[in-house]
C-alpha cells in the first residue's frame, strides 16, 4: 500500500520555485530518503506533506488524507522530528512528552505507559525529570524522536535527523530508526545531505534545485555511475584530461586538484593506463562508487555544504546563548 502519494506538487516563494512538479510514492514500512544539498527543496517538501505549507499546485496524500483538505487527518497520522529543535527547553523531558500526549489526545490509560516505554527506547529514562535545557544535542534529538512516536503515527518524518551530531550519536539514532521500523512497521521519510546516511534507506530520491533527478535503491543508483571511480593527479591535469578523452574515450572531470572519472573494471584499466599514459602522474587511486559520486554524476556538483550547515549551527548556538 502507498502511504504517501505525491502528484506534481509545486511550491513557489516569490519568483523562486522551491519545489517543482515533484511526484513520488512511498510504500508502507519503507525507509524513504530525500537526498540533496541545502536549499534543494527537501524541507519545503516535508513542510507541505506535514501541512505546515500549502502547495501552490499538485496534490499529496498521507495515509489516505489530503494534505490540504484533510489536515487534521494528516496531522494525526504523522510524527515529526524537525531539523532545528522544537522542544520547550524550560520544561522537563517528561513534561514535554505529556504536553504532546494531551495535544494528540493519547488515551489516559496508555499515556504514562507509552511515555515510560519511549523514554526507555531512546535511553533517557534517568533524565526524565531534568529540564531539556540541560540536554546535549543528541539527547534532544532522541527526545524529539520519542515525542514524535508518542501518538503512534503511521509515518515518521525526520528532517536531517542527525545534523550536527557526532558520529557516535548518529549511529545511535540510526539504531533507533531501524528498531522502530522493525517493531512497528513504521514508514520513515527522511531528508539528509549525508551520503553515508542515505545508505540506510530502502529507496532514495535525489533532489536538486526543486526537481527530482533520480529515484531508486542505493545499489541501483550506484550502478548508474558506471563502474569504479578513478582519481588521479597528473603534473598537468588538463593535458591528462585531454589524453583520457582522446585515447580512452572517457569523460573525466577536474575536481579540486584531481582528475576524476569512472570506468568499468577499474583494476584492469589501471594496468593499461600505466603502460600507455604519456602525461606524468603524481598519484592515482581507485574505489567503488558511493552515493556522493551518484550525486556528482547526476548534477555535476558535489554535495559540499558542510560549511553552510556548520555556520547554521554556530548561528543556532549564538541564539541559544543570547537567552
Amino acid at each position: 500500500m502507498d502511504i504517501i502519494e505525491v502528484e506534481e506538487i509545486t511550491r513557489r516563494f516569490g519568483s523562486l520555485v522551491a519545489v517543482d512538479k515533484v511526484s513520488f510514492t512511498v510504500k508502507e514500512g519503507e525507509i524513504f530518503g530525500f537526498l540533496g544539498p541545502n536549499g534543494a527543496g527537501k524541507t519545503t517538501t516535508i513542510n507541505m506533506l506535514c501541512t505546515l505549507l500549502t502547495p501552490n499546485e499538485g496534490r499529496a496524500r498521507v495515509n489516505g488524507y489530503d494534505v490540504v483538505k484533510q489536515r487534521t487527518g494528516v496531522r494525526r497520522s504523522i510524527g515529526l522530528v524537525f531539523q532545528e529543535p522544537t522542544l520547550d527547553e524550560y520544561l522537563t523531558a517528561e513534561q514535554n512528552l505529556r504536553f504532546h500526549a494531551y495535544a494528540y489526545k493519547v488515551p489516559r490509560e496508555e499515556r504514562e505507559k507509552r511515555i515510560d516505554e519511549l523514554l526507555e527506547l531512546v535511553e533517557l529514562s534517568e533524565r526524565r525529570k531534568s529540564k531539556v535545557s540541560t540536554f546535549s544535542g543528541g539527547m534532544k534529538r532522541r527526545l524529539e524522536m520519542a515525542r514524535g512516536l508518542l501518538h503512534s503515527p503511521r509515518v515518521l518524518f525526520l528532517d536531517e535527523p542527525t545534523l550536527g551530531l557526532d558520529p557516535q550519536n548518529r549511529r545511535h539514532i540510526w539504531d533507533h530508526i531501524h528498531e522502530l521500523r522493525r517493531k512497528h512497521n513504521l514508514t520513515i521519510f527522511l531528508t539528509t545531505h549525508y551520503m553515508d546516511e542515505a545508505e540506510n534507506c530502502g529507496r532514495i530520491t535525489v533532489i536538486d534545485q526543486g526537481r527530482i533527478v533520480a529515484l531508486d535503491t542505493p545499489d541501483n543508483l550506484k550502478d548508474m555511475v558506471g563502474g569504479d571511480l578513478v582519481t588521479l593527479k597528473a603534473e598537468d591535469n588538463s593535458a591528462a584530461v585531454a589524453e583520457l578523452k582522446e585515447k580512452y574515450k572517457l569523460e573525466p572531470i577536474i575536481e579540486k586538484d584531481n582528475v576524476v572519472f569512472s570506468v568499468p573494471q577499474g583494476e584492469k584499466f589501471l594496468v593499461k593506463l600505466m603502460r600507455g599514459f604519456h602525461n606524468n602522474l603524481v598519484s592515482i587511486s581507485i574505489r567503488r562508487p558511493t552515493l556522493d559520486d551518484v550525486f556528482l554524476k547526476l548534477t555535476g556538483r558535489a554535495i559540499r555544504d558542510e560549511e553552510v550547515s556548520f555556520k547554521d549551527q554556530l548561528k543556532q548556538m549564538a541564539m541559544m546563548r543570547r537567552h
Binding site: 506535514c50 501541512t51 505546515l52 487534521t72 496531522r75 494525526r76 504523522i78 515529526l80 524537525f82 532545528e84 529543535p85 522544537t86 522542544l87 520547550d88 527547553e89 524550560y90 520544561l91 513534561q95 504536553f99 504532546h100 494531551y102 495535544a103 494528540y104 489526545k105 515525542r147 541564539m319
Partner: protein, 263 residues
C-alpha cells in the same frame, strides 16, 4: 470543535507550567506597578488630588494600577508566541491536531490565569496602602480581570502573529503600551483633559477596563463624579465590560485570521 477546546486547555496549561517555573516573571511583573503606585502616589497625590473630587488619590489610582498589571500580563501571551516561534516550539504546536483558534485562545486564557494570579498579589497589598477590600469585591474583581485580560491579550497576540523576533515585538508593543497606559485614566480622570487627549482616551479599550475595575472599588457614587462619560452618558460597569469584550473579540478574531494566514 473538540480539538479547539482541547487546544485551549493544553496551551493554557503549558503557559501556567512555564509561569510557575519562571518565578522572576512573577516578581518583575508586579514590581513595576508597585513603583508607579509609590512614586506617583506620593509625588502626584498632593498635586493632582484636586482632580479627583471626593476620592483620595491612592484610592483613585490603585484600581488603575491593578488594570495596568492585567494589561502587562495579558501582553505576555503575545510575547510567549514570539518566544515559541523563535525557539521552534511553535512548530510542535502547529503540526498537532489542535486548531489555530484553540492555540490563540489557549494563549489568551493562559495569560488571563496568570493575570489573575498577579492581580491577587496586588490585592494583598491593598490593605497596606489603605484601600479597603471586601470578599465580594475580590470575587467581582477576579471575574472582571479574566474578561479584561482575555480581551487585552488580543492586542499582544495580533502583534505577535506578525513578529519573528522578541526584539521586534518589544519595540512595537512598547510603542502601543505607552499611550495606552498614560491615556487610560489610570493617573487622572479622562473627562477634564484637552479634547484630543479625551478622544484618544475614549477609544482606548483599557480606559473602560480601568473604569470597570475602579467602579468595583468606588461604587456607582464614585462613578458619578469621576467615571468615564461618553457623549454625556456615564458608563455603567456592565457597559464598560461590553466595550472591552467587543474590542477583545474583534482583536482575537483578527489574530486567529492573521495567524492562520501566515502559518
Amino acid at each position: 470543535m473538540a480539538d479547539v477546546f482541547r487546544g485551549v486547555w493544553v496551551v493554557a496549561y503549558r503557559e501556567l507550567l512555564r509561569f510557575v517555573q519562571e518565578r522572576s516573571r512573577l516578581f518583575s511583573s508586579f514590581v513595576m506597578p508597585l513603583i508607579f503606585l509609590v512614586i506617583f502616589g506620593a509625588g502626584f497625590g498632593e498635586l493632582v488630588g484636586s482632580m479627583t473630587p471626593g476620592v483620595d488619590y491612592i484610592q483613585f489610582m490603585y484600581p488603575g494600577i491593578l488594570a495596568m498589571t492585567v494589561l502587562m500580563s495579558s501582553l505576555m501571551s503575545g510575547i510567549s508566541i514570539v518566544w515559541d516561534r523563535e525557539f521552534g516550539f511553535l512548530k510542535e504546536i502547529l503540526v498537532s491536531p489542535l486548531g489555530r483558534g484553540g492555540i490563540i485562545l489557549g494563549k489568551a486564557v493562559g495569560g488571563a490565569v496568570v493575570a489573575v494570579l498577579q492581580a491577587f498579589v496586588m490585592l494583598i497589598l491593598a490593605p497596606i496602602l489603605g484601600v479597603s477590600l471586601s470578599f465580594t469585591m475580590v470575587v467581582e474583581l477576579m471575574l472582571l480581570i479574566v474578561i479584561v485580560s482575555i480581551s487585552l491579550s488580543g492586542l499582544g497576540l495580533l502583534v505577535a502573529s506578525r513578529m519573528q523576533s522578541q526584539q521586534g515585538f518589544q519595540v512595537v508593543i512598547q510603542l502601543i503600551i505607552m499611550p495606552l497606559i498614560f491615556l487610560a485614566g489610570i493617573f487622572y480622570p479622562v473627562n477634564n483633559v484637552p479634547v484630543w487627549m479625551e478622544v484618544i482616551s475614549k477609544v482606548n479599550p483599557l480606559t473602560y477596563g480601568v473604569d470597570a475595575i475602579r467602579q468595583v472599588f468606588l461604587g456607582s457614587e464614585g462613578a458619578a463624579t469621576i467615571g468615564v462619560t461618553v457623549f454625556g452618558h456615564t458608563m455603567t460597569i456592565l457597559e464598560d465590560i461590553l466595550v472591552v469584550a467587543a474590542f477583545g473579540a474583534i482583536l482575537l478574531v483578527l489574530s486567529v485570521w492573521s495567524f492562520s494566514r501566515q502559518e
